[in-house]
């Protein structure tokens, strides 16, 4: 026992934490000791998390199903029935959720906008989690010059204020969905990179890594086997925290006109377009904004609840 403690201490002292890093503590360490099933059980015991998950699934179904189920041609511009209130609440129009400023059914427009926003959010989080973790982990595992190279790369990526960089890239490349995903990924890669680095720095000296070396495992297998699994819980927890933030960031970009461009749409764009008519009809802004808020709040609550479950 004592021998293991010496090992641990010695290696902590050995490891050169040259850059201040995100502590793996909180989520990282606790997470690695519990199995997936017990985390799921702890999550299901938390009513807030479950309610948030239900709400998010409903939003997801709405965003995916409505554009598929609405008959073709329902989304065409119809100037004669612009800005009608929702018939659902007796607003006088023909559309269940009212119409937008071009007379299209709002229920459909918002669903499409939500789908874009969620698509961008998920793509960004998946890309940043994979690329960022891999960069940080590889750097930390190899150490030395590779580590400082990765560190410098990340510092460079981090120098530019996110929004400013986004504006520059979008004005240079134009605002396609792929550009937005790229823009929003830059900051995330740094965040996940730091997490990957700090977890790898502490677990690369773990006895199970030494044991893996003792049976002849290659560095690649150790990274993609042991260290990937050791990081998984913390990366998932961070991804859940990142997702609503990315969705919100994309909405802000699109809102100020540097995000998704028409004819494509996103929630931020819808709010921007409809707010010109807010004195005539406030409903479209309220509905679109409400959907965005609900999405982000439910995602944030899921994230919190999963983190709590991982810690339990």
């Amino acid at each position: 026992m004592s021998e293991r403690d010496e090992f641990g201490d010695a290696h902590l002292a050995d490891a050169d934490f040259s850059a201040p890093d995100l502590a793996p503590g909180e989520i990282g360490n606790a997470a690695s000791s519990s199995s997936g099933r017990s985390v799921a059980r702890a999550f299901l015991r938390d009513p807030v998390g479950v309610a948030a998950a239900v709400i998010f699934v409903l939003i997801l179904l709405y965003a995916i199903l409505v554009p598929l189920l609405v008959p073709a041609g329902a989304g065409i511009v119809n100037i004669t029935s612009r800005l009608k209130g929702p018939s659902l609440f007796g607003g006088g129009g023909h559309s269940l959720l009212g119409t937008d400023h071009l007379g299209r059914p709002l229920g459909l427009t918002v669903a499409e906008g939500l789908r874009t926003s969620l698509e961008v959010g998920l793509a960004v989080v998946v890309i940043t989690a994979c690329v960022g973790w891999l960069l940080g982990a590889v750097g930390a595992y190899i150490g030395g010059r590779v580590d400082s190279l990765v560190g410098r790369l990340m510092d460079t990526m981090n120098v530019f204020p996110g929004l400013l960089l986004a504006l520059a890239i979008v004005s240079a490349l134009g605002g396609g969905e792929l550009t937005i995903i790229l823009v929003l990924s830059i900051e995330g890669i740094v965040i996940f990179g730091r997490l990957g680095r700090s977890i790898t720095l502490t677990s690369k000296h773990a006895e199970y890594v030494l044991a893996a070396k003792a049976f002849g495992a290659s560095p690649i297998r150790i990274l993609l086997g042991h260290l990937r699994l050791t990081s998984a819980a913390a990366v998932i927890a961070l991804a859940l925290v990142q997702l609503p933030q990315v969705v919100l960031l994309e909405a802000s970009l699109s809102y100020v006109g540097f995000g998704i461009q028409p004819p494509n749409t996103s929630i931020g764009l819808i709010v921007a377009e409809e707010q010109d008519f807010i004195s005539i009809q406030a409903w479209p802004v309220l509905f679109a904004g409400g959907c965005l808020a609900l999405t982000c709040v439910s995602l944030a609550l899921i994230g919190l609840s999963v983190r709590r479950a991982l810690r339990s």
Binding site: R4, A10, E207, L210, A211, A212, K213, A214, A217
Partner: protein, 334 residues
């Protein structure tokens, strides 16, 4: 060296020196280990806690650097190939395949978030890239059964297995690729007596069926008596005695060996107390003693003689196949 011995020798260690770096300069945890191991032979490495047993075992695996130490000099040869002189990629090819190790603490030697079966499959596929997942799984189940773990346990996490089961799984990892030398670091220390007996029996069966050489690290002379052919006694990083098991028990030629034997717990001794409490004084750490014999302050036969304080006794042949590092080995009584 006779022709016969040369034919069956599977491992040869020469003048191995391993150091840790510390604030007060290098810390010599292994100071000149030399021995050879024949196929099917069991070598026991005994010594108090901190005497450098694990450090030696790691160095024998070519893992000194990976565990924070440094090999200063010496060689570890398998089939005429010095592992320590190989580039890391070829060293990796020997690990697990030619020489494998089961670690001191199975609880920390398995990744807690990965199933035991997957980790065993990883071991198999480290040396057999051609093996499909299904084949590897099949072999993993067979290996588990071979060491007495129910094959259904492949899907369990380490925390779901008992200490004894995990130790067996650890042995399965070690034998997965039919190595010619197995190094077992304290394989039974943490286990209760019945499980200890089972694990020792398992080792006996494995050795009989595979013909592998075994290096077993222990501070339990019970284990030595049960399993071991030859014993290497370590003190403060130095080999103080190397002899076959009968000589060790009946004619020890180093006062430390004799003291260890005397401090063995007898049945009537209360358990729970340190087994080595009977040796007066605290064990010297590696490098703590600059000149002279490292054991002299606790030695019962030195009587403060000058040579013990000035000259570090060399390891010399004192009987047939028996080496001792004591100026006054003739005075040692069992």
């Amino acid at each position: 060296m006779s022709v016969v011995a040369a034919a069956t020798e599977v491992m040869r260690v020469r003048d191995l020196v391993v150091e840790y770096s510390s604030r007060d300069g290098p810390l010599r945890a292994v100071d000149g280990a030399s021995f050879e191991l024949a196929a099917g032979e069991t070598l026991g490495i005994v010594g108090e806690s901190g005497s450098g047993k694990t450090t030696l075992a790691m160095a024998l695996m070519g893992l000194a650097e990976a565990s924070g130490a440094k090999v200063r000099s010496g060689s570890v040869t398998f089939d005429g190939v010095d592992m320590l002189a190989l580039p890391s990629r070829r060293r990796r090819g020997l690990r697990g395949k030619v020489v494998a190790m089961s670690f001191q603490d199975p609880m920390t030697s398995f990744n807690p978030v990965w199933t035991v079966g997957s980790q065993l499959m990883e071991t198999i596929r480290a040396h057999d890239r051609q093996a499909t997942r299904a084949e590897a799984l099949d072999r993993a189940r067979n290996l588990l059964e071979r060491v007495g773990v129910p094959a259904e346990h492949v899907g369990l996490l380490p925390e779901q297995l008992s200490g004894g089961m995990l130790q067996r799984a650890m042995i399965a990892v070690a034998i997965a690729n039919q190595p010619r030398v197995i190094i077992a670091d304290e394989p039974v220390t943490a286990l209760d007596v019945t499980v200890q007996a089972q694990i020792l029996q398992l080792f006996r069966e494995l050795l009989a069926s595979t013909g592998a050489g075994l290096i077993i690290v222990t501070h339990d002379f019970g284990v030595v008596a049960e399993l071991v052919d030859r014993v290497l006694v370590m003190y403060a990083g130095k080999t103080v005695e190397l002899a076959d098991v009968n000589s060790i028990f009946h004619t020890p030629h180093h006062p430390y060996t004799a003291a260890l034997l005397r401090s063995r717990p007898k049945l009537e001794v209360t358990i729970g107390r340190s087994r080595l409490a009977a040796i007066p004084g605290a064990p010297a750490g590696p490098g703590e003693v600059s000149a002279g014999c490292p054991f002299r302050s606790r030695c019962q036969i030195s009587h403060g003689r000058d040579i013990c304080a000035t000259d570090d006794p060399p390891l010399v042949e004192v009987g047939k196949g028996q080496l001792s590092a004591c100026h006054f080995w003739k005075e040692v009584t069992p």
